[in-house]
């Protein structure tokens, strides 16, 4: 589906007077994984926060975000159809594993049996069949990470943001989970934007790599000419 596209148009970030990110324009096609790399503190997580509408108000930002050709910059996070995966799995501790997954399912799936079947399918996909009633706290790190991804995918996002979701897993799990994530993203032809400081992640993603965060001291700080309409 060619309409499934994530477009960034001239996105820049500023923290106080300090420019964090020079205007960045980028199109991520359906099923493509683009990696943004940079050292910590260069603003890559803030970039993702801006894309999904959750940038801290202490930042100033400008530029437009388009999902499937529709400008979503002025929409609240919940209406952007942009899914995001964080470093921590952030499974809700008060819900069971199955309820966490069902939380992601859209309300349009009304039928209870159908909801349960979709959750069971997702669990099987994560090699967690029969885990629906379990407390998420009893799962291993890798299992929790898979549930978190599937919960997000069940919500039918149109684009996928990955905020260093592999950094807390150990080496062996990391490779497996990376494969799991990229595989799902491609299968659902989601445009995917990964930020990381780990080159191995970028290589595994197998797509374009964009390096940011290289403001040398002497370089003139590029101030965004547009008004920071997107900041909130």
């Amino acid at each position: 589906m060619s309409a499934n596209m994530l477009q960034l148009r001239g996105i820049s970030l500023q923290l106080g007077d300090r420019p964090l990110l020079a205007p960045l324009s980028l199109t991520v096609r359906a099923g493509e994984v683009v990696t943004v790399m940079g050292p910590s503190g260069c603003g890559k997580s803030s970039l993702l926060a801006y894309l999904c509408g959750m940038l801290d108000p202490t930042f100033r930002a400008a530029g437009r975000v388009l999902v499937g050709g529709v400008d979503v910059t002025d929409r609240p996070p919940e209406q952007r159809r942009i899914g995001i995966l964080f470093q921590d799995d952030l499974l809700f501790p008060h819900l069971s594993v199955g309820e966490n997954l069902a939380f992601g399912l859209p309300p349009t799936v009304r039928n209870r049996r159908q909801r349960r079947a979709l959750v069971a399918a997702a669990l099987a996909d994560a090699e967690l069949a029969g885990f629906a009633e379990r407390d998420p706290a009893t799962l291993s790190g890798g299992q929790r990470a898979r549930v978190a991804l599937l919960r997000m995918l069940l919500s039918e996002p149109a684009a996928l943001l990955l905020d260093e979701p592999f950094s807390k897993l150990d080496a062996d799990l990391k490779a497996k989970f990376r494969h799991f994530v990229f595989d799902h993203a491609r299968r659902q032809s989601l445009p995917t934007l990964l930020v990381t400081h780990d080159r191995a992640d970028a290589v595994a993603a197998g797509g374009r790599i964009i390096e940011i965060g290289e403001f040398s001291e002497g370089a003139p700080a590029e101030s965004p000419s547009e008004s920071p309409s997107g900041s909130f």
Partner: protein, 583 residues
Amino acid sequence: MAPPPKPIAGAVAPAGPQPRRAGLVRYAPPLTLGLFLAPIAAGLVGTWLPAAGWLPALGGDRVTLAAWRALLAAPELPGAVRLTLVSGFLSTAISFALAIGICATGHHTALFARLRQALTPLLAVPHAAIAIGLAFLIAPSGWIVRLFSPWATGWDRPPDLIISQDPYGLSLVFGLVIKETPYLLLMTLGALGQVRAERSISVARALGYRPATAWLKVVLPQIYPQIRLPVYAVLAFSLSVVDVALILAPTTPPPLAPLLLHWFNDPDLTMRFQAAAGASLQLGIAVAAILVWIGGERLVAALARPWLSAGGRGAGQGLGRRTAGALIAGLLGVAALCFAGLGIWSVAERWRYPDPLPTTWTLGTWQSHASALAGPAWTTLWVGLAAAVVAIILVLGCLENEKRRGLHPSARGLWLLYVPLLVPQVSFLFGAQILLVRIGLDGTWLALAWSHLLFVLPYVFLSLADPYRALDDRYARTAFCLGASPARVFWRVTLPVLLRPALAALAIGFAVSAGLYLPTLFAGGGRYVTLTTEAVSLAAGADRRVIGVYAFLQAGLPLLAFAAALALPAWLYRNRRGLSGRG
């Protein structure tokens, strides 16, 4: 009763590899528990015995059910209990719903970041002052009627309506809601930080959930366990409040707690047996109400469980930012009107109906009552300071003990701390008074300050515990490595760094004490008059100008304490940016 040996924070297991020398602070937890739990336990027993007929001083020397029979035969009882239950549950439910509604609809707005500061002054103002201000506001000749009369209502003279002491107790509910909602809100804000609420919200919103729905489905179930004790405290308080009820509740019959006070003060001393039985009933009502509330919690949890994962994202744009803003503005607005009304009445000379403001102003009321005010103001000041200072010493001792011995706070410790807030005052103060008479302390300054300490201590502990426990331990370790003794570290490092929250806790303690009514009456043995007891007794029928003077000062003193608690560290640390953050 011997104080239980467990420290207040509940000993679980030593966590640190090498607990530090505990020193004197080791005795702080048992001392604290003894000082504030023993009188309550003794007071309860001292109330139950007369309820069972046993009070030799008044001729009760055998166990009978006569007191209970007299209580049940009292014609006012059914109405009083009904009014108590309705107003208690209604005000608690409304306050809880408002607090939750404000958090759910406003958590993502800029307003929310400043909510804490906005609510603090409201928390400082005593219940009675708000109640008097509200009574002025909604009276037939109050501001609300004046503003709409006669052009809209057609009332050329104050209408013949009973608004402020309505038979249904609605004005009582209103008065309680104004005070309890900010309290529950502040407790909720405190709990939010402990569950990483913002991250949960981010996830839910990225999954397509609207902010309010996200909060209710993801945050509320996580934080409820942490705000349930404050909710129970509000419920128990609302079911047994005396001062607010004396001002805003109907009198025929009044709710149970003021009725009991009336019986305790009856010149016929044998009425005290009946009153003691009623006080025991009051405790039973509070306990039963909390159990009913817990049942309700379970029911709601069971019914709402499927809804949590049914996928509904919440609909409509409208219910959002504006709801929270409007609710808070309404709350603060009413409170500000109450306060302003007190102030204006105190300097009004001629204020005829339906003028919105006085036509002539005067400081005469203040001047003619200056000497009469001095006594109550002085008593309020010293009792409040004494109770707050003792409380903060005990609390610092407990917290320092906890830190030095590597103890962790436990749920049981927290329940103990809430005991004075959960047990209705009227259900143990009579027994405590009997005890004070026995040991010859009744009506002394010591008894008065001690009785205030019971209620001041939990608040001081609650407000200081989080900043103290959150204190970066590396400061102290660094100081130890520099060769400082534990005592030196405490005085030179811990306390200065914690000056801001410690002063805030002191101000909260003072405000709690300044607002206490029933403990002053019982422990003071009628010998001590504070601004609160004076304002409440004047509210029954004095000139509004005079009531205004007392109630305004009653509200003003705690506010001044809060202002001082903010200003002092700001001035001391004006050149220390690292210490200027919010406590």
